[in-house]
Symmetry: C2
Subunit: 261 residues, 2 copies
Protein backbone atom coordinates (compact mmCIF):
# COMPACT_ATOMS: atom_id res chain seq x y z
CA UNK A 1 0.00 0.00 0.00
CA UNK A 2 1.17 3.52 -0.77
CA UNK A 3 2.39 5.97 1.79
CA UNK A 4 -0.38 8.38 1.01
CA UNK A 5 -2.97 5.70 1.60
CA UNK A 6 -1.46 4.98 4.97
CA UNK A 7 -1.65 8.63 5.92
CA UNK A 8 -5.25 8.81 4.79
CA UNK A 9 -6.10 5.71 6.75
CA UNK A 10 -4.78 7.47 9.79
CA UNK A 11 -7.25 10.25 9.08
CA UNK A 12 -10.05 7.72 8.90
CA UNK A 13 -9.33 6.56 12.43
CA UNK A 14 -10.90 9.71 13.78
CA UNK A 15 -14.56 9.13 14.48
CA UNK A 16 -17.32 10.73 16.45
CA UNK A 17 -16.65 8.45 19.36
CA UNK A 18 -12.89 8.83 19.13
CA UNK A 19 -12.17 12.38 18.03
CA UNK A 20 -8.72 12.71 19.58
CA UNK A 21 -5.94 10.15 19.40
CA UNK A 22 -2.45 10.09 20.85
CA UNK A 23 0.57 8.93 18.87
CA UNK A 24 0.98 5.52 20.45
CA UNK A 25 -2.68 4.66 20.19
CA UNK A 26 -2.73 5.88 16.61
CA UNK A 27 0.13 3.53 15.79
CA UNK A 28 -1.63 0.69 17.53
CA UNK A 29 -4.96 1.26 15.80
CA UNK A 30 -3.45 1.60 12.36
CA UNK A 31 -0.82 -1.12 12.57
CA UNK A 32 1.71 1.42 11.40
CA UNK A 33 5.05 1.79 13.13
CA UNK A 34 5.11 4.58 15.64
CA UNK A 35 7.94 6.41 13.91
CA UNK A 36 6.18 6.18 10.57
CA UNK A 37 3.01 7.31 12.21
CA UNK A 38 4.80 10.25 13.72
CA UNK A 39 6.18 11.37 10.38
CA UNK A 40 2.89 10.93 8.57
CA UNK A 41 1.01 12.88 11.21
CA UNK A 42 3.67 15.55 11.00
CA UNK A 43 3.05 15.96 7.32
CA UNK A 44 -0.69 16.01 7.80
CA UNK A 45 -0.23 18.60 10.50
CA UNK A 46 1.90 20.84 8.30
CA UNK A 47 -1.03 21.08 5.97
CA UNK A 48 -3.53 21.73 8.71
CA UNK A 49 -5.43 18.48 8.21
CA UNK A 50 -4.71 17.54 11.80
CA UNK A 51 -3.51 19.49 14.79
CA UNK A 52 -2.02 18.61 18.14
CA UNK A 53 -3.74 19.79 21.23
CA UNK A 54 -3.32 19.74 24.95
CA UNK A 55 -0.55 18.59 27.22
CA UNK A 56 -0.87 15.03 25.94
CA UNK A 57 -0.20 16.33 22.42
CA UNK A 58 -3.07 14.28 21.09
CA UNK A 59 -4.03 14.67 17.48
CA UNK A 60 -7.39 15.72 16.12
CA UNK A 61 -8.69 16.87 12.77
CA UNK A 62 -7.46 20.35 11.86
CA UNK A 63 -8.97 23.46 10.35
CA UNK A 64 -7.91 22.68 6.80
CA UNK A 65 -10.68 20.13 6.42
CA UNK A 66 -13.18 22.95 6.83
CA UNK A 67 -11.65 24.79 3.93
CA UNK A 68 -11.75 21.73 1.68
CA UNK A 69 -15.34 20.98 2.57
CA UNK A 70 -16.39 24.58 2.00
CA UNK A 71 -14.69 24.42 -1.37
CA UNK A 72 -16.42 21.22 -2.34
CA UNK A 73 -19.78 22.58 -1.25
CA UNK A 74 -19.23 25.79 -3.19
CA UNK A 75 -18.60 23.81 -6.35
CA UNK A 76 -20.84 20.79 -5.86
CA UNK A 77 -23.49 21.79 -3.38
CA UNK A 78 -24.81 18.30 -2.81
CA UNK A 79 -24.78 18.07 0.93
CA UNK A 80 -26.32 21.45 1.60
CA UNK A 81 -29.04 20.75 -0.91
CA UNK A 82 -29.68 17.30 0.50
CA UNK A 83 -29.90 18.33 4.13
CA UNK A 84 -33.45 19.77 4.19
CA UNK A 85 -34.83 16.89 2.11
CA UNK A 86 -33.15 14.44 4.43
CA UNK A 87 -34.51 16.11 7.53
CA UNK A 88 -38.02 16.11 6.14
CA UNK A 89 -37.68 12.44 5.26
CA UNK A 90 -36.49 11.67 8.79
CA UNK A 91 -39.42 13.62 10.14
CA UNK A 92 -42.20 11.97 8.16
CA UNK A 93 -40.84 8.48 8.68
CA UNK A 94 -39.74 9.01 12.26
CA UNK A 95 -36.53 7.19 11.42
CA UNK A 96 -32.93 7.83 10.48
CA UNK A 97 -32.44 8.92 6.87
CA UNK A 98 -29.16 9.04 5.02
CA UNK A 99 -27.86 9.81 1.58
CA UNK A 100 -24.78 8.48 -0.14
CA UNK A 101 -22.98 9.14 -3.40
CA UNK A 102 -20.98 6.99 -5.75
CA UNK A 103 -17.38 8.10 -5.95
CA UNK A 104 -14.44 6.15 -7.27
CA UNK A 105 -16.33 2.89 -7.32
CA UNK A 106 -17.32 3.24 -3.69
CA UNK A 107 -20.55 4.33 -2.12
CA UNK A 108 -19.94 7.02 0.47
CA UNK A 109 -22.36 8.37 3.00
CA UNK A 110 -22.34 12.17 2.84
CA UNK A 111 -25.12 13.19 5.19
CA UNK A 112 -27.74 11.85 7.53
CA UNK A 113 -30.59 13.13 9.63
CA UNK A 114 -32.22 11.77 12.74
CA UNK A 115 -35.78 11.91 13.84
CA UNK A 116 -36.64 12.96 17.34
CA UNK A 117 -39.66 10.68 17.52
CA UNK A 118 -38.29 7.63 19.26
CA UNK A 119 -35.88 6.93 22.02
CA UNK A 120 -34.16 4.35 19.87
CA UNK A 121 -32.80 5.28 16.49
CA UNK A 122 -30.25 3.97 14.08
CA UNK A 123 -26.96 5.81 14.53
CA UNK A 124 -25.08 6.59 11.33
CA UNK A 125 -22.37 8.83 12.75
CA UNK A 126 -19.37 6.74 12.00
CA UNK A 127 -20.37 4.96 8.85
CA UNK A 128 -18.77 6.24 5.72
CA UNK A 129 -18.20 3.58 3.12
CA UNK A 130 -21.28 1.44 2.46
CA UNK A 131 -20.71 -2.10 1.16
CA UNK A 132 -22.82 -2.77 -1.93
CA UNK A 133 -23.96 -6.23 -0.94
CA UNK A 134 -24.79 -5.62 2.71
CA UNK A 135 -26.81 -2.41 2.72
CA UNK A 136 -30.07 -1.36 1.17
CA UNK A 137 -28.42 1.75 -0.31
CA UNK A 138 -25.68 -0.39 -1.77
CA UNK A 139 -28.06 -2.85 -3.35
CA UNK A 140 -30.36 -0.11 -4.63
CA UNK A 141 -27.43 1.58 -6.33
CA UNK A 142 -25.83 -1.60 -7.63
CA UNK A 143 -29.13 -2.80 -9.07
CA UNK A 144 -29.36 0.35 -11.18
CA UNK A 145 -25.77 0.41 -12.40
CA UNK A 146 -24.74 -1.02 -15.76
CA UNK A 147 -24.38 -4.78 -16.07
CA UNK A 148 -20.58 -4.67 -16.28
CA UNK A 149 -20.02 -2.86 -12.97
CA UNK A 150 -22.65 -5.06 -11.41
CA UNK A 151 -20.91 -8.21 -12.57
CA UNK A 152 -17.54 -6.89 -11.43
CA UNK A 153 -18.92 -6.14 -7.98
CA UNK A 154 -20.46 -9.61 -7.72
CA UNK A 155 -17.08 -11.16 -8.41
CA UNK A 156 -15.52 -9.49 -5.39
CA UNK A 157 -15.68 -11.20 -2.00
CA UNK A 158 -18.96 -10.63 -0.19
CA UNK A 159 -18.03 -10.65 3.48
CA UNK A 160 -20.82 -11.37 5.95
CA UNK A 161 -21.43 -8.50 8.35
CA UNK A 162 -24.22 -10.39 10.09
CA UNK A 163 -25.83 -13.75 9.72
CA UNK A 164 -28.38 -12.10 7.42
CA UNK A 165 -25.86 -10.66 4.97
CA UNK A 166 -26.29 -11.97 1.45
CA UNK A 167 -22.99 -13.65 0.65
CA UNK A 168 -23.94 -15.81 -2.31
CA UNK A 169 -23.23 -14.05 -5.65
CA UNK A 170 -25.97 -15.93 -7.49
CA UNK A 171 -28.66 -15.14 -4.94
CA UNK A 172 -27.47 -11.55 -4.74
CA UNK A 173 -27.72 -11.24 -8.52
CA UNK A 174 -31.29 -12.46 -8.34
CA UNK A 175 -32.09 -9.96 -5.61
CA UNK A 176 -30.63 -7.15 -7.67
CA UNK A 177 -32.91 -8.03 -10.58
CA UNK A 178 -35.78 -7.95 -8.19
CA UNK A 179 -34.76 -4.57 -6.84
CA UNK A 180 -34.41 -3.13 -10.33
CA UNK A 181 -37.92 -4.36 -11.06
CA UNK A 182 -39.38 -2.76 -7.94
CA UNK A 183 -37.37 0.48 -7.91
CA UNK A 184 -36.31 0.15 -4.29
CA UNK A 185 -34.20 -2.12 -2.10
CA UNK A 186 -34.75 -3.66 1.29
CA UNK A 187 -32.19 -4.96 3.74
CA UNK A 188 -33.35 -6.93 6.76
CA UNK A 189 -30.41 -6.83 9.11
CA UNK A 190 -27.75 -7.37 6.48
CA UNK A 191 -25.49 -4.65 7.84
CA UNK A 192 -26.34 -4.53 11.51
CA UNK A 193 -28.43 -7.35 12.86
CA UNK A 194 -31.10 -5.14 14.39
CA UNK A 195 -31.32 -2.63 11.57
CA UNK A 196 -33.92 -2.86 8.84
CA UNK A 197 -33.61 -0.43 5.97
CA UNK A 198 -35.14 0.59 2.68
CA UNK A 199 -33.39 2.53 -0.06
CA UNK A 200 -33.96 4.06 -3.45
CA UNK A 201 -31.37 4.93 -6.12
CA UNK A 202 -30.59 8.49 -7.18
CA UNK A 203 -29.71 9.55 -10.71
CA UNK A 204 -27.49 12.12 -12.38
CA UNK A 205 -28.16 14.31 -15.39
CA UNK A 206 -27.57 11.53 -17.90
CA UNK A 207 -29.82 9.13 -16.04
CA UNK A 208 -27.00 7.07 -14.54
CA UNK A 209 -27.29 6.00 -10.94
CA UNK A 210 -25.12 8.23 -8.80
CA UNK A 211 -26.12 7.53 -5.22
CA UNK A 212 -28.69 6.22 -2.82
CA UNK A 213 -31.19 7.46 -0.30
CA UNK A 214 -32.16 5.27 2.60
CA UNK A 215 -34.26 5.06 5.73
CA UNK A 216 -33.07 2.79 8.52
CA UNK A 217 -35.15 1.59 11.46
CA UNK A 218 -34.78 -0.78 14.37
CA UNK A 219 -36.21 -4.12 13.20
CA UNK A 220 -38.84 -4.06 15.87
CA UNK A 221 -40.62 -1.06 14.40
CA UNK A 222 -41.09 -2.52 10.94
CA UNK A 223 -44.74 -3.20 10.10
CA UNK A 224 -46.61 -3.12 6.82
CA UNK A 225 -47.94 0.35 7.60
CA UNK A 226 -44.48 1.56 8.60
CA UNK A 227 -43.08 0.15 5.37
CA UNK A 228 -45.75 1.94 3.35
CA UNK A 229 -44.91 5.28 4.97
CA UNK A 230 -41.17 4.76 4.49
CA UNK A 231 -41.49 3.77 0.85
CA UNK A 232 -43.75 6.65 -0.02
CA UNK A 233 -41.40 9.02 1.79
CA UNK A 234 -38.42 7.58 -0.04
CA UNK A 235 -40.12 7.92 -3.39
CA UNK A 236 -41.01 11.54 -2.80
CA UNK A 237 -37.63 12.48 -1.33
CA UNK A 238 -35.79 10.54 -4.01
CA UNK A 239 -37.60 12.42 -6.73
CA UNK A 240 -36.93 15.75 -5.05
CA UNK A 241 -33.28 15.08 -4.41
CA UNK A 242 -32.64 13.85 -7.93
CA UNK A 243 -34.14 17.06 -9.19
CA UNK A 244 -32.16 19.23 -6.75
CA UNK A 245 -28.95 17.62 -7.87
CA UNK A 246 -29.81 18.34 -11.49
CA UNK A 247 -30.45 14.71 -12.31
CA UNK A 248 -33.27 13.10 -14.22
CA UNK A 249 -35.32 10.05 -13.28
CA UNK A 250 -35.39 7.26 -15.83
CA UNK A 251 -39.03 6.90 -16.93
CA UNK A 252 -39.17 3.31 -15.67
CA UNK A 253 -38.22 4.43 -12.16
CA UNK A 254 -40.63 7.31 -12.33
CA UNK A 255 -43.50 4.90 -12.94
CA UNK A 256 -42.52 2.56 -10.13
CA UNK A 257 -42.17 5.39 -7.64
CA UNK A 258 -45.57 6.79 -8.56
CA UNK A 259 -47.03 3.49 -7.46
CA UNK A 260 -45.33 3.79 -4.05
CA UNK A 261 -46.69 7.23 -3.27
Amino acid sequence: MGTVSKALELLDLFTRSRPQIGLSELARLSDVNKATCFRLMGELQNHGLVEQVGAAREYRLGPAVLRLAALREAHVPMRDAAMPVLQELARVTGETAHVSVLSGGQLRSIAHAYSGDFGTKVIMDDVHVLPFHATSSGMAVLAHLDAATQAAELKKPLPARTSNTETDPARLAKRLKDIAARGYAESAGGYEAEVHSFAVPLFDSVGACSGGLAVASPRSRVTSEHTRVVLSGLARAGRELTELWGGSLPPAIDDKWRALA
Copy 2:
Protein backbone atom coordinates in the same frame (compact mmCIF):
# COMPACT_ATOMS: atom_id res chain seq x y z
CA MET B 1 9.68 16.71 0.70
CA GLY B 2 7.59 13.74 1.73
CA THR B 3 5.20 11.96 -0.56
CA VAL B 4 2.26 12.78 1.64
CA SER B 5 3.09 16.46 1.50
CA LYS B 6 3.14 16.30 -2.26
CA ALA B 7 -0.26 14.69 -2.32
CA LEU B 8 -1.63 17.30 0.06
CA GLU B 9 -0.18 20.07 -2.05
CA LEU B 10 -2.13 18.67 -4.95
CA LEU B 11 -5.24 19.03 -2.84
CA ASP B 12 -4.39 22.65 -2.19
CA LEU B 13 -4.39 23.41 -5.89
CA PHE B 14 -8.16 23.25 -5.93
CA THR B 15 -9.59 26.70 -5.38
CA ARG B 16 -12.87 28.48 -5.86
CA SER B 17 -11.75 29.74 -9.22
CA ARG B 18 -10.28 26.42 -10.28
CA PRO B 19 -12.45 23.69 -8.81
CA GLN B 20 -11.72 21.00 -11.41
CA ILE B 21 -8.30 20.10 -12.75
CA GLY B 22 -7.19 17.57 -15.35
CA LEU B 23 -4.19 15.32 -14.85
CA SER B 24 -1.78 17.17 -17.11
CA GLU B 25 -2.65 20.57 -15.75
CA LEU B 26 -2.39 19.24 -12.22
CA ALA B 27 1.12 18.02 -12.96
CA ARG B 28 2.00 21.36 -14.50
CA LEU B 29 0.65 23.41 -11.62
CA SER B 30 2.30 21.31 -8.96
CA ASP B 31 5.64 20.69 -10.62
CA VAL B 32 5.14 17.02 -9.95
CA ASN B 33 5.71 14.43 -12.61
CA LYS B 34 2.58 13.34 -14.38
CA ALA B 35 3.01 9.69 -13.45
CA THR B 36 3.56 10.60 -9.81
CA CYS B 37 0.62 12.90 -9.96
CA PHE B 38 -1.51 10.13 -11.39
CA ARG B 39 -0.60 7.73 -8.63
CA LEU B 40 -1.08 10.27 -5.89
CA MET B 41 -4.46 11.30 -7.22
CA GLY B 42 -5.36 7.63 -7.46
CA GLU B 43 -4.67 7.17 -3.78
CA LEU B 44 -6.56 10.31 -2.87
CA GLN B 45 -9.43 9.07 -4.99
CA ASN B 46 -9.51 5.68 -3.29
CA HIS B 47 -10.19 7.47 -0.06
CA GLY B 48 -12.82 9.74 -1.53
CA LEU B 49 -10.86 12.94 -1.05
CA VAL B 50 -11.04 13.56 -4.78
CA GLU B 51 -13.17 12.13 -7.54
CA GLN B 52 -12.97 12.07 -11.29
CA VAL B 53 -15.79 13.46 -13.25
CA GLY B 54 -16.94 13.85 -16.83
CA ALA B 55 -15.54 12.68 -20.11
CA ALA B 56 -12.31 14.62 -19.56
CA ARG B 57 -11.80 12.66 -16.33
CA GLU B 58 -10.98 15.85 -14.49
CA TYR B 59 -10.43 15.70 -10.77
CA ARG B 60 -12.33 17.60 -8.12
CA LEU B 61 -12.64 17.38 -4.35
CA GLY B 62 -14.60 14.32 -3.25
CA PRO B 63 -17.29 13.57 -0.72
CA ALA B 64 -14.89 12.39 2.00
CA VAL B 65 -13.93 15.96 2.82
CA LEU B 66 -17.50 16.56 3.92
CA ARG B 67 -17.27 13.74 6.40
CA LEU B 68 -14.01 15.02 7.85
CA ALA B 69 -15.35 18.53 8.18
CA ALA B 70 -18.55 17.34 9.82
CA LEU B 71 -16.45 15.33 12.25
CA ARG B 72 -14.28 18.30 13.11
CA GLU B 73 -17.30 20.51 13.60
CA ALA B 74 -18.96 17.95 15.82
CA HIS B 75 -15.93 17.86 18.06
CA VAL B 76 -14.64 21.44 17.79
CA PRO B 77 -17.54 23.58 16.71
CA MET B 78 -15.48 26.66 16.00
CA ARG B 79 -16.60 27.51 12.55
CA ASP B 80 -20.31 27.11 13.15
CA ALA B 81 -20.04 29.20 16.28
CA ALA B 82 -18.02 31.86 14.51
CA MET B 83 -20.28 32.22 11.49
CA PRO B 84 -23.05 34.37 13.00
CA VAL B 85 -20.59 36.66 14.79
CA LEU B 86 -18.67 37.03 11.56
CA GLN B 87 -21.77 37.85 9.57
CA GLU B 88 -22.83 40.46 12.07
CA LEU B 89 -19.37 41.99 11.98
CA ALA B 90 -19.49 42.10 8.19
CA ARG B 91 -22.90 43.73 8.39
CA VAL B 92 -22.07 46.51 10.85
CA THR B 93 -18.79 47.37 9.15
CA GLY B 94 -20.04 46.89 5.61
CA GLU B 95 -16.82 45.07 4.85
CA THR B 96 -15.37 41.58 4.57
CA ALA B 97 -14.73 39.90 7.92
CA HIS B 98 -12.70 36.78 8.46
CA VAL B 99 -11.49 34.63 11.31
CA SER B 100 -8.39 32.49 11.49
CA VAL B 101 -6.94 30.01 13.95
CA LEU B 102 -3.42 29.07 14.92
CA SER B 103 -2.65 25.46 14.07
CA GLY B 104 0.74 23.86 13.85
CA GLY B 105 2.56 27.17 13.85
CA GLN B 106 0.52 28.49 10.96
CA LEU B 107 -2.38 30.86 10.91
CA ARG B 108 -5.24 29.43 8.90
CA SER B 109 -8.36 31.17 7.75
CA ILE B 110 -11.38 29.08 8.69
CA ALA B 111 -14.32 31.27 7.76
CA HIS B 112 -15.24 34.60 6.26
CA ALA B 113 -18.34 36.64 5.64
CA TYR B 114 -19.10 39.33 3.10
CA SER B 115 -21.20 42.39 3.38
CA GLY B 116 -23.74 43.19 0.73
CA ASP B 117 -23.30 46.91 1.14
CA PHE B 118 -20.83 47.76 -1.57
CA GLY B 119 -20.18 46.73 -5.11
CA THR B 120 -16.52 46.28 -4.28
CA LYS B 121 -15.43 44.02 -1.48
CA VAL B 122 -12.34 42.17 -0.49
CA ILE B 123 -12.51 38.58 -1.66
CA MET B 124 -11.15 36.00 0.74
CA ASP B 125 -12.27 32.86 -1.04
CA ASP B 126 -8.93 31.38 -1.87
CA VAL B 127 -6.79 32.54 1.02
CA HIS B 128 -6.01 29.88 3.54
CA VAL B 129 -2.62 30.36 5.15
CA LEU B 130 -2.03 33.90 6.41
CA PRO B 131 1.59 35.09 6.63
CA PHE B 132 2.31 36.57 10.03
CA HIS B 133 4.26 39.55 8.81
CA ALA B 134 2.06 40.63 5.92
CA THR B 135 -1.47 40.55 7.29
CA SER B 136 -3.21 42.37 10.09
CA SER B 137 -4.48 39.07 11.51
CA GLY B 138 -0.97 37.67 11.41
CA MET B 139 0.55 40.64 13.19
CA ALA B 140 -2.25 40.83 15.75
CA VAL B 141 -1.69 37.17 16.61
CA LEU B 142 2.10 37.31 16.56
CA ALA B 143 2.12 40.39 18.78
CA HIS B 144 0.22 38.48 21.43
CA LEU B 145 2.22 35.27 21.30
CA ASP B 146 5.08 34.54 23.69
CA ALA B 147 8.42 36.18 23.05
CA ALA B 148 10.11 32.97 21.91
CA THR B 149 7.68 32.20 19.09
CA GLN B 150 7.71 35.83 18.13
CA ALA B 151 11.49 35.86 17.90
CA ALA B 152 11.50 32.60 15.94
CA GLU B 153 9.03 34.01 13.46
CA LEU B 154 11.07 37.19 13.04
CA LYS B 155 14.10 35.12 12.12
CA LYS B 156 12.34 33.51 9.18
CA PRO B 157 12.42 35.24 5.79
CA LEU B 158 9.81 37.97 5.42
CA PRO B 159 8.91 37.92 1.74
CA ALA B 160 7.36 41.08 0.33
CA ARG B 161 3.87 40.51 -1.04
CA THR B 162 3.51 44.14 -2.04
CA SER B 163 5.68 47.23 -1.84
CA ASN B 164 4.03 47.97 1.51
CA THR B 165 4.88 44.67 3.17
CA GLU B 166 7.03 45.03 6.25
CA THR B 167 10.19 43.07 5.43
CA ASP B 168 12.60 44.41 8.02
CA PRO B 169 12.69 42.26 11.18
CA ALA B 170 13.66 45.15 13.42
CA ARG B 171 10.89 47.44 12.20
CA LEU B 172 8.41 44.56 12.39
CA ALA B 173 9.44 43.87 15.99
CA LYS B 174 8.77 47.49 16.82
CA ARG B 175 5.37 47.34 15.13
CA LEU B 176 4.48 44.23 17.11
CA LYS B 177 5.25 46.01 20.37
CA ASP B 178 3.02 48.81 19.22
CA ILE B 179 0.23 46.39 18.35
CA ALA B 180 0.48 44.67 21.73
CA ALA B 181 0.17 48.06 23.36
CA ARG B 182 -2.92 49.00 21.37
CA GLY B 183 -4.67 45.62 21.33
CA TYR B 184 -5.26 45.62 17.59
CA ALA B 185 -3.25 45.54 14.37
CA GLU B 186 -3.49 47.47 11.14
CA SER B 187 -2.16 46.54 7.73
CA ALA B 188 -2.16 49.13 4.98
CA GLY B 189 -1.79 47.12 1.82
CA GLY B 190 0.80 44.71 3.16
CA TYR B 191 -0.91 41.66 1.70
CA GLU B 192 -2.73 43.02 -1.32
CA ALA B 193 -1.85 46.52 -2.41
CA GLU B 194 -5.40 47.81 -2.40
CA VAL B 195 -6.53 46.11 0.79
CA HIS B 196 -6.52 47.82 4.15
CA SER B 197 -7.30 45.72 7.16
CA PHE B 198 -7.63 45.78 10.93
CA ALA B 199 -7.42 42.77 13.21
CA VAL B 200 -7.70 41.74 16.82
CA PRO B 201 -6.28 38.64 18.52
CA LEU B 202 -8.45 35.87 19.98
CA PHE B 203 -7.63 33.90 23.09
CA ASP B 204 -8.12 30.37 24.38
CA SER B 205 -9.12 29.17 27.82
CA VAL B 206 -5.67 29.68 29.32
CA GLY B 207 -5.40 33.18 27.89
CA ALA B 208 -2.99 32.25 25.09
CA CYS B 209 -3.55 33.78 21.68
CA SER B 210 -5.19 31.22 19.44
CA GLY B 211 -6.37 33.10 16.39
CA GLY B 212 -7.32 36.37 14.83
CA LEU B 213 -10.37 38.26 13.71
CA ALA B 214 -10.07 40.81 10.93
CA VAL B 215 -12.00 43.24 8.79
CA ALA B 216 -10.63 44.03 5.34
CA SER B 217 -11.65 46.96 3.15
CA PRO B 218 -10.62 48.47 -0.14
CA ARG B 219 -8.10 51.20 0.71
CA SER B 220 -10.29 53.87 -0.79
CA ARG B 221 -13.00 53.42 1.82
CA VAL B 222 -10.76 53.94 4.83
CA THR B 223 -11.54 57.14 6.74
CA SER B 224 -11.25 57.97 10.40
CA GLU B 225 -14.96 57.38 10.90
CA HIS B 226 -14.76 54.08 9.03
CA THR B 227 -11.80 53.06 11.18
CA ARG B 228 -13.72 53.90 14.33
CA VAL B 229 -16.66 51.72 13.27
CA VAL B 230 -14.39 48.86 12.29
CA LEU B 231 -12.41 48.92 15.52
CA SER B 232 -15.46 49.07 17.72
CA GLY B 233 -16.99 46.22 15.74
CA LEU B 234 -13.82 44.19 16.05
CA ALA B 235 -13.64 44.75 19.79
CA ARG B 236 -17.21 43.66 20.32
CA ALA B 237 -17.00 40.66 17.98
CA GLY B 238 -13.60 39.67 19.36
CA ARG B 239 -14.96 39.63 22.87
CA GLU B 240 -18.00 37.63 21.80
CA LEU B 241 -16.04 35.09 19.80
CA THR B 242 -13.47 34.54 22.52
CA GLU B 243 -16.30 33.81 24.89
CA LEU B 244 -18.07 31.50 22.42
CA TRP B 245 -14.93 29.48 21.97
CA GLY B 246 -14.57 29.12 25.71
CA GLY B 247 -11.58 31.45 25.93
CA SER B 248 -10.85 34.26 28.32
CA LEU B 249 -9.62 37.74 27.52
CA PRO B 250 -6.44 38.83 29.28
CA PRO B 251 -7.38 41.79 31.47
CA ALA B 252 -4.95 44.07 29.63
CA ILE B 253 -6.71 43.38 26.35
CA ASP B 254 -10.09 43.78 27.94
CA ASP B 255 -9.18 47.31 29.02
CA LYS B 256 -7.86 48.32 25.62
CA TRP B 257 -10.92 46.97 23.82
CA ARG B 258 -13.24 48.85 26.15
CA ALA B 259 -11.60 52.04 24.98
CA LEU B 260 -12.34 51.14 21.35
CA ALA B 261 -16.04 50.58 21.84
